[in-house]
């Protein structure tokens, strides 16, 4: 679906000639002539206007009644008056009505000072009330959830919060009850409003009716400053505004970016800022001493690390976690490659891919953008769960389906929260994306007239998918229109056969003609926040900066673990990652960490691996303190700016990396943060010329710049001749293991007081049929095991769960599924 073109029209507002885009609502059109029309219920982000509050009434010549400017599109030649006696009378009337039952407790209200109701009453109200009846009084504030308080006295029933719940998040948990003047905002039967995006209603509320529990009474608008940056808690990289008071982050607000987040935030992004200031945070360097980590001076820590690394020399493996910035990643690989002379550096969790495949998948021509998800003809969600993996994309996909009738297909192993919105759902067995993609490719061929039905049937069976559904998917993708976007999770290319699955994906993309089409293409959801940027900065075992060739490829993460365990490597350098938490195959990593003679970590929290194994810990900056850039999955370089100074003794990571290099005898030539950016830009040809100024507040997509032509072309981007993978092993009474990482599985969530309640515990998600067979009931405690390892979990039934598979969470401190080796596990009552 092409984006609508905009035509300009000319109209008259209060005697001024105003030129505005056709069909925008009058309220917005008026802004082009610097005319402000007051609104309460109108919020274009919430979809079609509802015209409920009536604050925006204006006079339009030729229409006898006053009209709501929020719902009247501008037309050429329209003559509008916003300053007539009639309009003033109506505006004063509405303000008077709204204040009838509003408590006017502004002095004790969090919203005071940044409250639209205050502003509009002051600017457009009559400044008097003739209402002398007693006002309503209710208990206040009441909890709406652990995160949100509701003060129903203050509510002006503008409908924004419930519209958000129903039409944007589509969780339908927050509703209006009763009717007329009795109407109130509530949930069902006293259930809390807990949903991934609930916090947005705080920002939407134009009065102080919905307030943030963690922010309540922490500051007044005149105490605070706003500071724009980017949230690095997941790959969605939403733009945020930190509210800062006295060097403390007190709140996070959305910083509307139509190409990134559409003005929304998930609750992790909104509330996990608390992790910046908690006691659990590491703010001093530490060294293991007598088996315990003890705080030491920077000098000692640096010296210790430098000398130990110097001793290890080439026998060091380094891993960068997803939150690492481009600059940090770039400096890390310089440290490892140029100073320590090791090739073993990686940032990917799921094993390495060939350089050619990286180039083919990352090529600008194949790239779709976030807003393409909204304007595409069809979207395929492939082996990822947006709400967990990059939450804001979940809202964008819903928006496309709801507003632009995008045809949505979901192809995953685990039931998706997007299933109800999808035209088509296809399930395949966990880890069988390769077979599934081959089946899909064959089915697309069948749709194009090739006799490949049998092949589809065979491959679908190998993938544990329904062949009919695969054909239906092929039909949907080939007939909905040319603009198809495939949103794929990095787990597709994870594991041993990741390379082949990646090629199969390229084959499908080629079949669908997604390359070189604006508005169509592939969009990867990386496993880590800055997965794309780190690859482009050269934090891969087989690629240097700019996906350049390296003389000798090193070991990938799994290879590093094995080499350390085998004694081939002796030291580990962990930049923002705890392998026990973040990487698959926990057993292998435990062995490696046990054996390593040196573990240097940059960490903000003492997660289990760091606590038990690190020898030197450098306190890591929080994202609110960081300076640098990250790269969005669609290629947008975004700039992080420090909102607060370093907490405690924390130092910038780039500084620490440069200092270590210096102590090891090499000056990396980096003395300020921007110098690191300059070096990175100089080293990555397709970033050429980018400056921090150019990135500005909104970032910049490098694939859309001219320098993108310097992107190294892959030898081939397909089609590839591919062998079908071996079919999944027969279960023999066991269950397939599927894993997922919840949005709440993050150390920041664990330590943020407000979010603690959301931190996940292990649950075994089963289909009702399997549960019946195993005689298990919801709430039962079970052990799930394979090859001598087992984890404990609570049974949860899910109707949509495919039979024969059990789903467990990873990235949680206890009982993480990364302890288990698939593909088959046994589930037993504990």
């Amino acid at each position: 679906m092409p984006r609508p073109e905009t035509r300009m029209v000319t109209l008259s507002i209060d005697g001024r000639e105003v030129t505005a885009p056709e069909n925008v609502m009058l309220v917005d059109g008026a802004k082009y002539g610097d005319v402000e029309i007051p609104v309460f219920c109108y919020e274009p982000k919430l979809g079609a206007p509802v015209g409920a509050c009536r604050m925006c009434l204006v006079e339009i010549e030729g229409i006898p009644k006053l009209q709501t400017a929020c719902s009247t599109p501008v037309k050429d030649g329209m003559v509008v008056h916003t300053q007539t006696a009639r309009v003033h009378a109506a505006q004063e009337a509405i303000v008077e009505f709204l204040l009838i039952n509003h408590p006017l407790d502004c002095p004790v209200c969090d919203k005071g000072g940044e409250c639209p109701l205050q502003d509009i009453s002051f600017g457009w109200g009559g400044g008097r009330s003739r209402f002398i009846e007693p006002k309503r009084h209710f208990q206040k504030p009441l909890a709406l959830s652990p995160l949100i308080a509701i003060d129903r006295e203050r509510c002006i029933l503008c409908y924004r919060c419930v519209r958000f719940s129903q039409e944007i998040a589509e969780d339908y948990q927050l509703v209006l009850q009763e009717r007329a003047a009795h109407t109130f905002v509530a949930t069902f039967d006293g259930h809390p409003y807990v949903a991934p995006f609930s916090g947005n209603i705080i920002e939407l509320c134009p009065v102080g009716a919905l307030t943030s529990q963690p922010y309540r009474f922490r500051a007044r608008p005149w105490d605070i400053e706003g500071s724009g940056s980017v949230c690095t808690l997941c790959p969605a990289q939403c733009n945020v505004n930190f509210t800062v008071r006295d060097e403390r982050v007190l709140r996070v607000l959305a910083r509307d970016h139509a190409e990134v987040d559409d003005g929304w935030l998930c609750d992790k992004g909104r509330f996990a800022y608390q992790a910046v200031h908690v006691d659990e945070r590491i703010t001093r360097p530490m060294i293991r001493d007598g088996g315990e980590l003890r705080p030491v001076s920077w000098e000692r820590a640096l010296e210790h690390a430098a000398s130990a690394l110097g001793r290890a020399q080439a026998r060091v493996g380094a891993i960068a976690g997803g939150e690492t910035t481009n600059e940090e990643g770039f400096l890390l690989q310089r440290l490892v490659r140029e100073v320590l002379l090791s090739n073993d550096v990686d940032s990917r969790a799921g094993g390495s891919l060939s350089l050619d495949l990286h180039r083919a998948l990352g090529a600008p021509a194949a790239q779709a953008t976030v807003s393409d998800l909204e304007f595409a003809d069809a979207v395929l969600v492939l082996d990822c769960e947006p709400v967990d993996d990059a939450p804001i994309l979940d809202l964008r996909i819903r928006k496309g389906v709801r507003r632009r009738r995008v045809e949505l297909a979901v192809a995953t192993s685990r039931p998706s929260s997007l299933d109800p919105n999808a035209r088509l759902r296809v399930r395949f067995a966990p880890g069988c994306a390769e077979a599934f993609l081959l089946a899909l490719e064959a089915a697309i061929g069948t749709a194009a007239g090739e006799p490949r039905r049998e092949e589809v049937a065979r491959l679908a069976q190998a993938a544990g998918a329904d062949a009919g559904a695969v054909h239906a998917l092929a039909d949907l993708l080939t007939t909905s229109g040319d603009d198809v976007v495939v949103l794929w999770g990095e787990r597709v290319t994870g594991g041993e056969r990741g390379e082949y699955a990646g090629r199969a994906l390229l084959n499908v993309a080629g079949r669908l003609g997604l390359r070189d089409r604006d508005g169509a293409g592939l969009l990867c959801v990386p496993a880590g926040t800055n997965g794309r940027g780190l690859a482009e900065a050269g934090v891969l075992p087989n690629a240097g900066p700019g996906l350049s060739e390296v003389e000798e490829a090193g070991r990938d993460a799994a290879g590093i673990a094995a080499a350390v365990a085998a004694g081939d490597l002796v030291a580990l350098y962990l930049l923002h990652t705890d392998p026990l938490r973040d990487l698959p195959n926990r057993g292998a990593w435990e062995a490696a960490l046990d054996r390593a003679s040196l573990v240097v970590a940059h960490a903000a929290f003492l997660t289990e691996g760091i606590r038990a194994h690190a020898d030197v810990v450098f306190p890591a900056e929080s994202y609110a303190e960081k300076e640098g850039t990250v790269t969005h999955p669609d290629g947008r370089l975004q700039r992080l700016r420090p909102a607060i100074g370093h907490q405690g003794e924390t130092r910038a990571e780039w500084q620490v990396l440069a200092e270590l290099a210096r102590r090891l005898g090499r000056d990396l030539g980096v003395h300020t943060g921007p110098m690191a950016t300059d070096q990175l830009v100089a080293a990555v040809p397709f970033y050429a010329g980018i400056t921090l100024d150019e990135l500005g507040g909104k970032g910049l997509r490098w694939p859309a710049r001219e320098a993108a032509s310097a992107f190294p072309a892959p030898a081939t981007a397909g089609p590839f001749e591919l062998e079908p993978p071996a079919p999944a092993p027969a279960p023999n009474g066991r269950l397939r293991l599927g894993t997922f990482r919840s949005i709440w599985a993050a150390p920041e969530v664990e330590v943020s007081p407000a979010l603690k309640f959301l931190h996940p515990r292990q649950r075994a998600e089963l289909s009702p049929a399997d549960a019946q067979r195993l005689k298990l009931f919801p709430g039962d405690r079970v052990t799930v095991g394979s090859d001598g390892h087992s984890v404990s979990a609570i049974v949860a039934l899910r109707d949509g769960a495919p039979e024969g598979t059990v789903f467990l969470e990873t990235a949680i401190p206890e009982d993480s599924a990364s302890l288990l080796e698939g593909p088959l596990v046994e589930v037993r009552k504990a």
Partner: protein, 437 residues
Amino acid sequence: MTQLILFKDIDEPGLATLEVYQRRGGYEGMRKALGMSRDQLIAELEASGLRGRGGAGFSMGKKASFIPKGTMDKYLVCNADESEPGTFKDRELMQKCPHMLIEGMIIAAYAVGANRAFIYIRGEYELQAQILERALEEARGQGYIGEDILGSGHSMTLWLHRGAGAYICGEETALLDSLEGKRGNPRLKPPFPANQGLFQGPTLINNVETLATVPHIIRMGGEEYAKLGTPGSTGTKLVSVSGNVRNPGNFEIELGTPAREIIYGLAGGPHEGREVKFWFPGGSSSPVLLPKDLDLPYDFDSMAKAGSMLGSGAIIVIDDANSVVDVALKTAKFYRHESCGKCTPCREGTNWTVRMLERIDSGEATPMDLDIMASVQEQIIGNCLCVLGDAMAMPVGSMIAKFREEFEAHIEAARERNDALTTAVAPPEALIQGAVA
């Protein structure tokens, strides 16, 4: 004497069954219509001059002609919510002659090319719902509803949808939301239902009486029908008369019949020794009229000219034994209760008005409050999302304007009564408590 159309056989035993209805010529209009083209049908309806009987009085034929042509999903909805206080005509029609409505709906659906039709009946009408369900079964059994009706190529489904008690669902867009399973909130217009109504499809919505008239128009011809009534208000109309009259009930009159004839002639006038004090000519939403207006012809234009409206054709007569304050309070309370709460002026304005009226009633007001109340009504009128707010503000405003002295006298009397009471008994403590309570 009025030529009876809708009520011609109304009390015939068994008229609610298909058999008797057909014996009385039922479904002939449908047969005739299915032989005509859609354009011809709409032309007949326009020629009849039939104006909607649900309240707004918009030309039925014109509304049908707004429905776009084409093959998209189109809908016909019968508004059988009948909740306007004083109105009970649709109830009698549906109960006694359900097939007349069904026949009208089949014709209307055919005329606009609608394949899905619904009757939205208020939840309280239990008996009428049962009767309609039975009649619908009969009609389906005859093939009048279903695939390829009588070989015409036209197919349709027709289901009864029962509401659950909300006056606002009579407002056509609120009705659509309610029928879609939502809270019955009115929608912004435009888009109008004719373009984007039920499930986003073009939708024709008409009142029960409007649709029940359709078969007769087709049978007798639009022009013939237009000869009845007055040029601006053609045809006959069912009028529900209630309140302080001796013989309350439904009457079929030719539009233009003097109101006095209806109230005194048909409904028997006020009880022994009583006089008409004022009357609502078109349900409780219509501004009240005085005895001097009784000789006006009862039709759309004359009622509008008199500053009121014909509305749903429900006349409520109030005699001189009643206080206007009571009636104003009842009226306002009704609208406060029934406001959907979506838009500010209606939600807050009706609430405020009731509370002021309560103070007036209890003697805690001054004449200045009457000015405020009148001004609040003006602040409501024209500023709401739908006209429910106006539906309170107009009659209440008209009562204040026309009976100001009585309001003032009431305030004065109540105050004197209170003074006597408080100085005699109430200790200040209780007064303070009372202010909170």
